[in-house]
Structure formats: C-alpha cells, structure tokens
Symmetry: C2
Subunit: 137 residues, 2 copies
C-alpha cells in the first residue's frame, strides 16, 4: 500500500498540495496564514483518521451518531526539531442511544487497533470524550 | 508550544478541519474523494515542513530558488494499524546558482535538525533530489 502526494511552492512559505487527481489544499507558515501549517496538518490527519474509525465503528454497532467533533492538541518539545511529545484528542459526540461504553470501545479500537495515522506518530497519546445531550427535535 | 485544531464531521466520512480562526480544509476517505485523506494529510505535513525549511535555508544562503516541487510517498504496513513504514521524499528544484552541495546541506539540515513533522513520525525516511535547468528568460 502506498500513499502519494505532491507539493508545489507558490511564494513566501506557501505551498499547494494534493494527491494525483485529488483535491488540492493550500498550506502555509503560521505567519503566512493562508492555510493550515504542516504541524496542524499532522494533527488533522491523526484526528481525521480516528474520526473515520469512530463513525464506522458506531455505525457498525447500529448507533445513530448525529454529531462528532474532535479537538486535538499537540505539545512540541522546546528544542529542535521540536517534535510532538504529547497529543491529546478530545471527542464530542451526540446521537440516539450513544452510550459511554460504546464510545469507549470505539476509541479504544481506533487508537489501539485501526488508526494508521496515530500508529505512525511517535508521541504519547491521551484522550477524553463528552457525550452531549441531543436537542429535542 | 502547543498546536491545536478542530474537526467537525459533516456526512459520510467527510470532515471539515481548521485551527481556531485559521482557514478550514475538507478531508475525506479515499472513496469519498472530496478532500485529502488522513494519511495524505500526514504526508503533506511532512513535505510542507521540510519544504519550508528548504526555502528558508536556501534563502539564507542567498540562493535564488525559482521552483520547489516535492513528491512524497509512504508505504504502509500490510497489517493493521497499517502505519507508515517507509517514506520517500523527492525534491525538484530550480534557480540561479542552486548547487548540489547547497541542496544536500539544506535537506540534511531539515531532515536531521529542524523538521518537526518529520521528527514526529515513526518511519524510515529516504530522499532524492533533482536540480532542473532553468528555462532561458
């Protein structure tokens, strides 16, 4: 299995990136601000990977997820190369019959078994989650 | 130092992601195709990180870079969690007075000293580069 992307430098520290025939995104330095930074993209990849797992696992359990928000934060070492040392993932979910047990199982399965992005990162991971009450319809 | 992003699930396996007040991007599963996949985002982050280093280092050397394209590919393990095992970064550069020596130094400094994204990934890295002839102006 291989994944490939291509980046083209545009100006300053801005790049346009995309997979062959895939949709392109703009990335930039923090100061440039025209797109996510490289380190933000890493966190997005990790959160998106576990997010897809959570959606699929809860669907398989026939639970009706109505909301999934993921907030992820990474601490970097003080010294270069300033790698991520600690990453915290906070899940916010809502839906019919969504139980703590099901959510905990889904997070555990993703983080320990399925999530390729998380498994590719050399950092300490922690997580928390909140099951929100659904608004009455 | 902390980096933070937030993801919101939209439908199917599509998410919208962004930093607080930062530009948002769409990510999706391979089948969905409306945005890069999580594993593509990891590669984009790595390539963007080393790309920014290369631009800054060559600028510091007062070399006039006119083109920087980066192609990055990652091999994943066959078994779950299918983490990246090998990542290859291929640099294509052009510009006035861009020498092999300068490019090799810049890549080495980025990969071994500065690139936070690369240092956060648990995989074997290799690279290659091509200095392209500038079109006559």
């Amino acid at each position: 299995m291989a994944v490939q992307v291509r980046l083209n430098w545009t100006e300053n520290l801005q790049f346009v990136a995309g997979a062959e025939k895939g949709p392109a995104i703009v990335m930039d330095s923090k100061d440039g601000g025209s797109g996510p930074t490289p380190m933000e993209l890493l966190l997005m990849g990790i959160a998106g990977c576990t997010g897809i797992d959570i959606v699929l696992i809860l669907q398989k359990k026939r639970l009706e997820l109505s909301k999934l928000e993921i907030r992820i934060s990474g601490k970097q070492a003080d010294k270069y190369p300033k790698r991520f040392t600690e990453i915290h993932i906070d899940y916010f979910l809502a839906g019919k019959n969504i139980s703590s047990k099901a959510v905990e199982q889904a997070i555990k399965l993703s983080e320990e078994k399925y999530c390729s992005a998380l498994a590719s990162i050399n950092a300490e991971f922690t997580h928390s989650y909140t099951i929100e009450k659904q608004k009455p319809s």
